[in-house]
Amino acid sequence: MKPNADEILVRFNGVNKSYDGSNLVVSDLNLEVRRGEFLSLLGASGSGKTTTLMMLAGFERPSSGAIELGGKPLDNVPPWQRDIGIVFQSYALFPHMTVADNIAFPLKQRRRSAAEIDERVKAMLALVKLEGMADRLPAQLSGGQQQRVALARALVFDPALVLMDEPLGALDKRLREHMQLELKRIHERLGVTIVYVTHDQGEALVMSDRVAVFAGGRIRQLASPTELYERPADALVADFVGENNRLEGKVTKIAEGHCQVTLGNGLVVTAMAPQPLDPGQSVVLALRPERVVVGAVESAENHQTAIVASVVYLGDHARLELAVGGLTLVAKVPNDARYRAPQAGERVTIAWRSEDCRAFAGNDRN
């Protein structure tokens, strides 16, 4: 039920934001949100995600640049006319109103008929599975239930766009994972556009159609979860999304898209080079632990001999610490019927495909 995926609902055009007049909290933000998509803003605390969301909601003004919603500039549209639903991290439910009154609030503000309000509130309570809670006060609900009320309230007036600022941050892990799937179900069911802020990369990967990785007020990469994980644009994104081995070295040879890198201990490996690099330049290699093949054949690409320093058993997989000529690599190996994890102290041959190892300019650490 997704509408035309190419239609742009929100457009940030060169948006800058500074609170104090000197430090840019958001700088040169260019971002397009497609109608019906689930877009996550992922980044560490302080990277400018909330500020971006609040500018879109109308509670902060961009210092420069423009924001459009549905093709119309938002400059002079006050928050109450933007028709954007927001789910706050603190839920922000009205404590003196019942669940039903909270959900009815946006409809009452829009002067809808009592019959329509009644019907919509019932439908929303069913959608978020809170039938029977209509007359409770927020204080009488659990955190997860309050979260659902906040969601229902943000959706009940059929906004074209819903913003969520770390809405699951206050829930415990199990409930959070459950709510992630629930949110995804609701998103697919209603076809509403969602811009979702999180600092939890796992959450972003599970839920999103696309993820914008924020750092220092800039978007470092905007891509699908697969793209982000498989082909991070820079070292920071690679670090932020998923786990990585970081190996420092110098470029010795360069060919289109590939490069040869000599590591600190003298080992020579080949890797992908998504950024332009020069011979002699310091680089950081990023290598996913699950892409390190343990027990490889001698003829494989990038094969090395390693000693298993330690094994941590984690049920469905094991984490190995491998000593490779003075370096330490982490590898994840499956614990399944076809594979036997090595023991600590064992000598093994390891290898990785050069497509799985990416070289980034080494000074890029911010």
Binding site: F59, W80, A92
Partner: protein, 406 residues
């Protein structure tokens, strides 16, 4: 508790007792101070309003003689003799005090008692005849009724008087005293003035608290200090400034005339207007400060949520802001009202004769016309009114709100 057996239970109890003793030791100085300077004086003062020691303690013989009187005719010779003995046994000043006290109930008693104190009595002849000869009123039945009803240990006289009532022939009736100062209307005036002052504090203070809670930087600080300044200034300095500002050819009147707003000076002081201006000035911080504290803690996400859901600014205020600050408003109102009904010095300095509040009369009966019983009765009524206000507030909002405004 039973898991560890009796020793554990005992040990736990002992440790709790030690904690309680420790806590008590820490608050002991404050507790002793409060009992010494507040609880005991208050109890003594309250007791004054029903205490009848002035007559009771000086008329021991009369009391026992009167106990045999049937109250129908004039009392027997023994009662006359007992009264004469009692009155002549005390100092002249004590006799004057007794006379004044009895005079509250029956005009003329004062001179009767004082002349009885100096009356030369011939022990050979009946006392009754000699007293009636000296003053015929000793032959009035009413005089002896008053002495009989006013010689008990406790008296309802002051409490009734404070409500413009008195006891006549065992029934409560409207007071007939000649200085009948209509305390009921003074109480009504006290509540009226306090109510108006509270309302003005609400109207002026709410926006001020809001600006204080949202203003940043030097503007906020200056505003804050100017609101708090009356709190830190001595009442005499303050009233001098009010007089300079508000008098007939004071700064305000001259300014208003200069800019052509008025032709003749307004009377802004030594009347009700002056009382309102001065009391609002003094009490405003009491309203603003608790409200300011509450406004600082307002959850802004709630305001944003309301706006994002389609509420215009007025609706945001009504549905998201006001519910959050109402406890602070109520705390401020009660604080101002309760303080205002006890006001004394400000109305004295800037009010006229018809603007004095009940505390003025408490002070008047304590200092000027030494009638401590009436002062105590008025004070006790004021205290009860205060407690009633606090009780209603506590019943409506819970006790924590009263202190913290939350």
């Amino acid at each position: 508790m039973e898991i560890g057996g009796p020793e554990l239970t005992r040990a736990l109890r002992a440790s709790r007792r030690r904690q309680q003793v420790g806590a008590l030791t820490l608050v002991a100085p404050a507790l002793i101070f409060l009992i010494a300077v507040f609880a005991i004086p208050l109890a003594l003062f309250t007791f004054r309003s029903v205490d009848n020691a002035e007559t009771w303690s000086v008329l021991p013989l009369t009391r026992s003689a009167l106990s045999n009187w049937d109250g129908k005719d004039l009392p027997p010779e023994t009662v006359y003799a007992a009264l004469a003995t009692d009155v002549q046994a005390i100092e002249r000043s004590a006799a004057a005090t007794l006379g004044r006290r009895l005079n509250y109930s029956e005009p003329g008693m004062r001179s009767l008692i004082i002349s009885l104190h100096g009356l030369k009595l011939d022990p050979a002849r009946p006392v009754a005849a000699q007293m009636i000869a000296a003053n015929v009123r000793w032959g009035e039945h009413r005089i002896w009724q008053v002495i009989d009803s006013e010689s008990g240990r406790l008296t309802p006289y002051y409490a009734l008087r404070a409500l413009d009532l008195q006891l006549a022939d065992g029934r409560i009736v409207a007071s007939s005293s000649e200085d009948s100062a209509t305390f009921r209307s003074i109480f009504a005036r006290t509540f009226w003035i306090s109510g108006i002052v509270t309302l003005l504090c609400l109207i002026i203070g709410f926006p001020v608290a809001y600006v204080l809670a949202t203003a940043k930087g030097w503007f906020g600080r200056i505003l804050f200090i100017s609101i708090l300044l009356p709190f830190w200034t001595s009442v005499l300095v303050r009233s001098m400034s009010w007089i300079l500002l508000l008098q007939q050819n004071g700064i305000l009147n001259r300014f208003l005339i200069d800019i052509g707003l008025i032709n003749a000076p307004l009377t802004l002081i030594y009347n009700r207007t002056g009382v309102y201006i001065a009391m609002v000035h003094v009490l405003l911080p009491l309203f603003v400060l608790p409200l300011y504290g509450v406004m600082l803690k307002v959850d802004r996400a709630l305001l944003r949520a309301a706006a994002s859901l389609g509420a215009r600014p007025l609706a945001v205020f009504r549905h998201a802001y006001l519910p959050q600050v109402i406890p602070g408003v109520m705390a401020g109102l009660v604080l101002v009202f309760v303080t205002a009904i006890g006001f004394y010095i400000t109305p004295v300095l800037v009010g006229g004769g018809g603007d004095q509040m009940i505390s003025y009369f408490v002070a008047f009966y304590t200092n000027a016309s030494v009638n401590w019983g009436l002062a105590a009765a008025l004070g006790t009524l004021l205290l009860l009114a205060t407690l009633l206000c606090l009780g209603v507030f506590r019943w409506a909002f819970g006790s924590a709100t009263m202190v913290t405004g939350r």
